[in-house]
């Protein structure tokens, strides 16, 4: 009851990393936008969680963001993340500095140690994450970035999503409620699309492939075809 089962964009902490700076407001913004726009409940004061903490296993979603090399994961962190994925948890990897791509490359390198038999694959616009609430044609964040997300698929489910768009940068706002970062190249329209991506990711976590269901698929496919 209350917040039970509510979407909670917990930020993943590994090694000596700290979650600080302008993007610390992004998780709360994500929750707020979700509750404002949808019927999904969300934790409005999200927390962080360490990869080697037992609390990692308390909820099925974590958000890993950063701009620098994540360093080598400890064996306890690897064990914790493996247990998280074994239960079906979803990890959203968000590169805050896609121009260098250092964070994303290092995250992929370390996740290859956690899930050694997997490789990221691109998710096109046909994937359910792009129609789990809003109809989206491509992912955007603070930057326009690539026209797809990468994902590590396990048992047919995308368990790790890689965004090279700095979604946290698009969501972050200062204490006056103003955006912390400028969104390029399309400004506020792009920020809106970034928020919609965040909502879709949350809905994907909460409903998995609900929108792939047979009863929805034909209607959505027709609507998408009309929009193009």
């Amino acid at each position: 009851m209350g917040d039970e089962g509510a979407f909670h964009p917990r930020v993943l902490i590994v090694g000596e990393a700290r979650f600080e700076g302008a993007r610390t407001t992004a998780p709360a913004r994500w929750s707020w936008e979700l509750t404002r726009r949808t019927s999904a409940p969300a934790r409005l004061a999200p927390t962080t969680v360490r990869a080697d903490s037992p609390t990692l296993l308390e909820e099925p979603f974590v958000w890993w963001l950063g701009s620098t090399d994540v360093g080598a994961l400890s064996s306890r962190e690897i064990t914790g993340l493996r247990a998280f994925f074994a239960l079906g948890g979803v990890l959203f990897v968000d590169d805050s500095d896609p121009t260098t791509g250092v964070f994303e490359r290092s995250a992929k390198r370390e996740l290859a140690r956690v899930l050694p038999d997997t490789n990221p694959v691109p998710l096109g616009a046909e994937h359910v994450v792009f129609r789990s609430f809003y109809l989206l044609h491509k992912p955007v964040g603070r930057l326009s970035g690539l026209d797809h997300l990468d994902a590590i698929m396990r048992n047919g489910q995308a368990q790790v999503l890689f965004s090279s768009h700095d979604l946290a940068g698009a969501l972050a706002q200062d204490r006056h409620g103003m955006p912390s970062f400028r969104v390029t190249p399309d400004g506020d329209l792009q920020r809106e699309m970034a928020i919609r991506l965040a909502v879709n990711v949350a809905m994907f976590v909460l409903c998995s492939n609900y929108k792939d269901d047979q009863v929805h698929a034909p209607i959505l496919m027709r609507r998408r075809a009309r929009d193009r």
Binding site: G5, A40, T55, A83, A86
Partner: protein
């Protein structure tokens, strides 16, 4: 009187004595051939001595015996199947059979009679003076013969079968050769006596067949054969197929007309049964006037309906991790066909987009709960507000759906139970718990549910208890529930909250309503069995273990039933029927049985012998009228199970009431026996009586010492004769 040799001698002694006689005579002949002086005297004394010596060894006896004549043993097999209760030649067929047996005894008084009845299995001893109605649900003559073949009793000299010829085995149209082959070990004449030879004026459902198995939601063809016999004239006969349900009027599945040509006609009707398990279906015809046997105008049959896939309607009021866990579990099971609708947006949400930019569709509440509801095996209402999302007008449909056999799961949350506006609605009446009237209806204090005694015993929680024992994850609060309804079983309860009567508040309860089953779960935290530190200890298997079992119980999966019931013989109207009840090991308490007639709430007598604590035991259903029935069993205070079955008057035996004289003639001809009508039974002939010695007396012709003395004297005389004649 006769003469015999002593019986105490072994065979070799007799042979030796014979050889001595022959050898002695040969030696004397050889001597006399060489020495002829006084040969006659020597030869005669030698012959006398040898004979007397042989008789001294053999000691002959005088035998006196008395004889009596014994009549032939005749085996009589009397048909005791239900068709013998129909009218025959001038009287009820079974009474005609009794008369036949009496007449056989009278006209062949010398015969030794062995009277047996036959029906669905081995033949059984029977006496025509026992004037009970025939009660065997089938007439299997070959099984009766097979059982009698293994008997150690004296083989009969002849067999007489008294029947109407309407046998299950050998079947109609059987050839002489087939009969001969089947009864090859019975190499004596088998006579047959027909107790009926004319057809009744009757319209009947001769046969009801289905192609393959009956699968829920899938139409299958029911092939019904209708026939008219005797003087009844039939052309078009209306036919109706109904499903008998526990509450309310029977559900019409199909109707049609059978066109009869030469007294017989067949119609194929597609029917669809929406619920799996044992379902009772009545097929009936409207017979023309003059029908002498109205009982066979209907067949009441039990269909064991299987599932190809279980169709689930999953409705969630908002997406949460609990919704996620439920969906992932439902979608992971390939045997489930899931149709899901989640409320992703309420009217108060500001989506900041045009409808075309949204991947949302309208919640089709009207279509789902008016048109398509019956196509689902179970409905899961998870954290769903009935009022906000327009379900309230359809709650009576949902209640009817459960009454007719649908399964319902209500899972709690901010919008579940009373908080979801279900209190006081038609749906509340089908829930296994009463709902408090409070609008809020939620307690947000964290707690760990407590397993009840029933929860520890039920097979439903066996798998999850195998993983975690009595441990359950902490819940962040609960919807408030009130008392469990009569017959409901509470598996989890709240450790501190109580109902209005002061009992622990139910958290997880199972109940039955009408033909359907309902699960009520007042919490929204079972996802912690799928994803939590506790879940990781068992690789998240706890969630599937819990919900597999809850859905399995909802769908009447035998694995989760506390007991299994089997009818030991078909239920026939007016007769007690034995049932075998097997309970799941480990369940405590007596079996409480309740029998209800489908379609009425009429109180029925209790089962005889049902209150047992044995793991497996036999009870007896009381004599019932023709119809459909549900037997509910509850083990102690644990979960209950239900067994639906049909009870017919006459059943297969009355479906075709025509006597089959031809079959009786074929049987008689195949074994060189005779076929006669009941009036001509005195014309049957049997083998002659045979004499049998009943008394025997033996006495020696002479005492043994006389034979020995005579032999010694004869030898002495012979010795003197030899000396006298000059022989040494």
């Amino acid at each position: 009187m006769s003469i015999a040799l002593s019986t105490d001698l072994p065979l070799w002694a007799g042979i030796l004595a014979g050889l001595l006689l022959v050898g002695g005579l040969a030696m004397v002949s050889w001597e006399l051939a060489l020495h002829r002086r006084r040969a006659i005297i020597v030869a005669s004394t030698a012959l006398a001595a040898t004979l007397l010596l042989t008789l001294a060894v053999l000691r002959p006896l005088r035998v006196q015996a008395k004889y009596t004549t014994v009549g032939p043993r005749v085996l009589v097999l009397v048909d005791r199947s239900l068709s013998m209760a129909l009218s025959g030649d001038g009287d009820q067929r079974s009474r005609v059979a009794n008369h036949v047996v009496g007449e056989l005894r009278r006209t062949h008084s010398a015969a030794r009679w062995s009277i047996h009845g036959f029906g669905s299995g081995a033949a059984f001893s029977w006496d025509e003076s026992n004037d009970t109605a025939p009660d065997q649900p089938s007439s299997d003559l070959l099984s009766a013969f097979a059982a009698l073949s293994e008997s150690s009793e004296e083989k009969p000299s002849a067999v007489v079968i008294v029947s109407d010829g309407r046998l299950d085995r050998p079947p109609e149209g059987v050839s002489e050769q087939q009969i001969r082959s089947a009864l090859s070990s019975w190499n004596m004449p088998i006579h047959t006596v027909a107790v009926a030879s004319t057809d009744m004026s009757d319209a009947s459902i001769r046969d009801v067949r289905t192609a393959g198995v009956s699968v829920a939601h899938q139409p299958f063809r029911l092939t019904v054969t209708v026939a008219c016999t005797g003087r009844l004239v039939c052309e078009n006969i209306p036919l109706t197929v109904l499903e008998l349900v526990e509450e309310g009027a029977p559900v019409v599945l199909a109707s049609g007309t059978v066109r009869l040509e030469r007294g017989i006609g067949t119609v194929e009707l597609p029917i669809t049964l929406d619920r799996a398990g044992s379902r009772v279906v009545r097929v009936s015809i409207r017979a023309p006037e003059g029908d002498e046997l109205p009982a066979n105008d209907q067949r009441i049959l039990t269909f064991n309906v299987t599932r190809d896939r279980v169709r689930i309607l999953h409705i969630a009021g908002r997406p949460t991790y609990d919704t996620r866990a439920m969906r992932q579990w439902l979608k992971a099971d390939g045997s489930l066909d899931v149709v899901a609708f989640f409320i992703l947006r309420s009217l108060s949400d500001d989506v900041n987009a045009t409808p075309d930019e949204l991947a949302l569709i309208r919640f089709p509440v009207d279509e789902l709960f008016s048109e398509h509801l019956s196509s689902f095996d179970a409905v899961v209402l998870q954290d769903f507000d009935a009022l906000s999302y327009g379900l309230t007008p359809y709650l009576s449909n949902l209640s009817d759906y459960v009454n007719k056999g649908g399964g319902l799961v209500m899972v709690g949350g901010l919008h579940g139970f009373s908080a979801g506006n279900y209190a006081g609605t038609p749906l509340e009446t089908v829930l296994p718990v009463r709902l408090p009237k409070e609008e809020h209806g939620i307690d947000t204090a964290p707690f760990v549910p407590r397993m009840t005694v029933a929860g520890r015993e039920t097979p439903v929680l066996e798998a999850v208890r195998a993983l975690y024992g009595d441990r359950l994850p902490q819940m962040s609060g609960t919807n408030l529930l009130d008392e469990a309804r009569d017959g409901a079983v509470v598996l989890w309860e709240h450790p501190t909250l109580t109902t209005t009567r002061g009992k622990p508040m139910p958290v997880l309860a199972l109940g039955e309503h009408g033909n359907g089953r309902v699960v009520a779960l007042s919490v929204d935290g079972t996802h912690r069995l799928a994803f939590s530190e506790m879940a990781s200890q068992m690789a998240g298997r706890g969630y599937g273990a819990l919900w597999d079992a809850l859905l399995g119980w909802l769908m009447r999966d035998p694995r989760y039933e506390p007991a299994r019931v089997e009818l030991l013989s078909p239920c026939l109207a007016g007769r007690a029927t034995p049932v075998r009840i097997h309970r799941v090991p480990g369940l405590q308490g007596e079996v409480q049985a309740r029998l209800v007639a489908l379609g009425s709430q009429k109180a029925l007598p209790d089962l005889v012998g049902s209150k047992s604590t044995d793991r497996s035991f036999t009870a007896e259903l009381p004599a019932l009228d023709a119809g459909g029935y549900a037997l509910r069993l509850q083990i102690g205070k644990g979960a209950s199970t239900r067994f639906d079955f049909a009870c017919e008057q006459g059943g297969d035996e009355w479906a075709d009431p025509r006597p089959d004289v031809t079959r009786l003639q074929t049987i008689a001809k195949a074994s060189a026996g005779s076929f006669v009508g009941a009036k001509d039974v005195s014309k049957l002939t049997f083998p002659q009586s045979t004499p049998v010695a009943t008394e025997r007396q033996e006495s020696p012709l002479l005492p043994a010492w006389v034979w020995s003395l005579a032999a010694a004297m004869a030898l002495g005389i012979h010795w003197i004769a030899r000396r006298w004649s000059g022989l040494s």
